[in-house]
């Protein structure tokens, strides 16, 4: 009775062969070869099935059963503009990079430039992505599929000592075109020594569309660099949204990631970090709100291979009617990684009978002089708090809304940017207003 661990879909390989000669950079032999190699690896590995521990809570069955095609460069300008306006924070006066259906959309973009900033887009400069495509250190079935099919992406390199005054906004838009399904996008970010930057990524898509947005990001921080990556996930309710983020953080560098998961039917956020130097800090936090068939999966792995590093994870989930979530956080502290501080906190609020929350906060520790802890809770709203608020005149919906907002606000209360903080609140409150019974 051998368990079937991996699923297969031979159609994927066939489709790759069919579109191979029309993929971005098809005329460059090195790229075509790397794509083909990645596809071979993908086909050899297969699609991780539900018996694969890492995919216990997100079923990739859709990948075996549905056939996704590479998207075309759709051009419904009004729709693009509407979605863009919903995502774009115009009061942040900085560069904007817009992708539509997995392809760069120059009309709404203003690339980051200036002293010490090298910015490139895959479809305009494939060569810039050679390192990330050729380096198979980060190998996984879905990463390989992304490598094989990648349509576009961006590369950002910040020179040492350069401080970006304004955050860079990256907006990924998916329109309601019927001919596209798969959006494999990549990014690579290199933050030079003592550089400082913030990138705000927003994923937004049309309602009623089945598409699979898959993004792989590789981020490297040099010593004392500071990088903040903020992600808003506002995909359409039938979308599949996946991000795979690899970070390498050098000595005394600080990396922070904040995400808000609101959209999509299935979302999966993978955050995989390793430290390259001591006294570095990684802070991962996020809120996920789910209902009706929605499933959010946060999957983190932080490898503490070196001493004196800190990692902090803080995730808050709110699940309403039909929503489902998983937090799978893993901290691995290697033998020599003394004086490691690692904390994981995951709290979930169930608002409905048909909601489900799963948590697996894992600690694997091989060093003795460390401070590691984790906490996870699942529960409903506190009836005493609810009554207290109602006795002061708040109706049920308002009282619940206030408590839920307070519950998730822990995630973004410490953000140093008020515009962003308000955006988080606005988006979260919008979800609550929409969903809570009045």
């Amino acid at each position: 009775m051998v368990k079937i661990l991996h699923l297969e879909n031979p159609e994927i390989g066939k489709r790759f062969e069919a579109v191979r000669s029309s993929l971005t950079g098809w005329d460059q032999a090195w790229l075509d070869q790397l794509r083909a190699e990645a596809m071979t690896r993908f086909e050899t590995t297969g699609i991780p099935g539900p018996k694969v521990e890492e995919w216990k809570y997100t079923n990739l069955g859709f990948l075996a059963n549905e056939n996704f095609a590479i998207s075309n460069k759709a051009r419904q300008q009004t729709e693009i503009k509407t979605l863009f306006d919903r995502a774009h924070m115009e009061n942040i006066d900085g560069p904007v990079v817009v992708f539509v259906n997995g392809h760069i959309y120059p009309a709404l973009s203003s690339y980051p430039d200036g002293h010490g900033i090298s910015f490139a887009v895959f479809s305009e400069n494939c060569q810039a992505f050679h390192p990330s495509l050729a380096n198979i250190e980060y190998s996984s079935a879905l990463n390989d599929l992304n490598r094989a099919m990648v349509t576009d992406g961006y590369s950002l390199e910040i020179a040492p000592d350069v401080v970006l005054a304004k955050p860079i906004q990256v907006i990924h838009i998916v329109t309601s075109a019927t001919d596209m399904k798969l959006l494999p996008v990549r990014s690579q970010i290199i933050a030079g020594k003592k550089s400082k930057a913030r990138i705000i990524e927003t994923f937004i898509g049309a309602e009623g569309e089945r598409y699979w947005s898959h993004m792989v990001s590789e981020v490297t921080l040099a010593a004392k660099a500071e990088l903040s990556l903020v992600q808003f996930q506002l995909q359409g309710k039938q979308a599949i949204h996946m991000t795979e983020l690899h970070t390498k953080v050098a000595e005394k560098a600080n990396f922070s990631h904040i995400s808000l998961q609101l959209g999509s039917e299935i979302s999966r956020t993978e955050l995989l970090n390793s430290f390259n130097g001591e006294f570095a800090n990684v802070d991962l936090r996020g809120a996920y709100l789910g209902r009706i068939k929605q499933s959010h999966d946060i999957f983190t792995r932080i490898n503490h291979d070196l001493p004196n590093c800190n990692s902090n994870q803080l995730y808050r989930g709110v699940l309403d009617e039909g929503g489902k979530s998983a937090f799978q956080g893993k901290v691995v502290v290697a033998r020599d990684a003394q004086k490691t501080n690692a904390d994981q906190s995951n709290k979930n609020l169930l608002l409905s009978r048909k909601a489900e929350a799963n948590a697996k906060p894992e600690l694997l520790i091989y060093a003795d002089d460390v401070k590691c802890s984790h906490g996870a809770t699942v529960g409903e709203l506190d009836s005493n708090q609810l009554f207290y608020l109602r006795s002061r005149g708040l109706d049920e919906a308002a009282a619940k809304g206030l408590l839920v907002e307070a519950f998730v606000s822990e995630v973004f209360d410490d953000l140093d940017d008020e515009i962003l903080r308000d955006k988080f609140k606005e988006k979260a409150a919008g979800w609550l207003a929409q969903e809570l019974p009045s």
Partner: protein
């Protein structure tokens, strides 16, 4: 203002109030005293409409309206305020935000417009100052990390801001030192007016030294068994419940 007739309340299948009658008119201050387990807190929760406090018989009428038909927030909108014996902690919600939401919810219920942010800020600062509360505490989450006295003071600030017609104060004086007690008493006295009423539930006579009630009732075994003026509280202090012929199971 408030008329309670033959009120029977069951909690968890057990009858706690067994036919309580109480009438409070405009401008009056009533105090209810009674031994442990007499049903004092049950009375306050029943008036405010907490879940789990089942009214099996009787009526609660407020300004001619049937209170029992209303949700807790509707009753608050009508001008009812409950000072909690154990004010609830709400992490993540700032005092300021909480009060503003509450005030505007009540105004909305009464058909008034939201209070402008600037006016609200002025109002709350003034009330905090009156009650000697550190303005920094307004920014902190509701009651989180507050001492017992600070929580009670916070209840008084809320009461002052929300300006209710009827305040039910459930052991607002318990656990307070003398200075805090004076401040709380002052908060209550500030509310006294000809068109308002106050119902104080208390264990001890000492609060009544500072807030002199018009009526004192003794609640025992789910009913009001004795009614008098301030002197009843003093007699009680002197002789105890047993001395007044009231036993726990009276």
């Amino acid at each position: 203002m408030l008329e309670i007739k033959n009120l029977h309340v069951t909690v968890g299948g057990k009858e706690i109030l067994k036919g309580l009658n109480l009438t409070i008119n405009d401008g009056e201050v009533h105090a209810i005293m009674g031994p442990n387990g007499a049903g004092k807190s049950t009375l306050s929760y029943a008036i405010c409409g907490k879940d789990g406090y089942e009214i099996t018989e009787g009526s609660v009428t407020y300004k001619g309206k049937d209170f029992l038909d209303m949700n807790p927030d509707e009753r608050a909108g009508e001008g009812l305020f409950l000072g909690f014996q154990y004010p609830v902690e709400i992490p993540g919600v700032s005092n300021m935000n909480f009060l503003r939401t509450a005030l505007n919810s009540q105004r909305c219920y009464r058909g008034d417009k939201d209070m402008a942010a600037v006016d609200f800020l002025k109002l709350i600062r003034a009330k905090a100052k009156e009650l000697d509360m550190d303005p920094e505490m307004l920014k902190r989450p509701v009651n989180v990390g507050f001492s017992g006295g600070e929580k009670k003071r916070n209840e008084m600030v809320q009461m002052a801001v929300l300006d209710p017609n009827l305040a039910v104060l459930d052991e607002t004086d318990s656990g307070l030192d003398i200075d805090a007690l004076k401040i709380v008493a002052e908060g209550i006295n500030r509310l006294r007016a000809s068109d308002k009423a106050i119902l104080m539930i208390t264990h001890y006579q000492r609060l009544l030294d500072y807030v002199v009630p018009d009526y004192v009732h003794i609640l025992a075994d789910g009913r009001i068994v004795k009614t008098g003026d301030k002197s009843l509280a003093l007699a009680l202090e002197e002789k105890g419940y047993v001395g007044l012929g009231i036993t726990e199971a009276a």
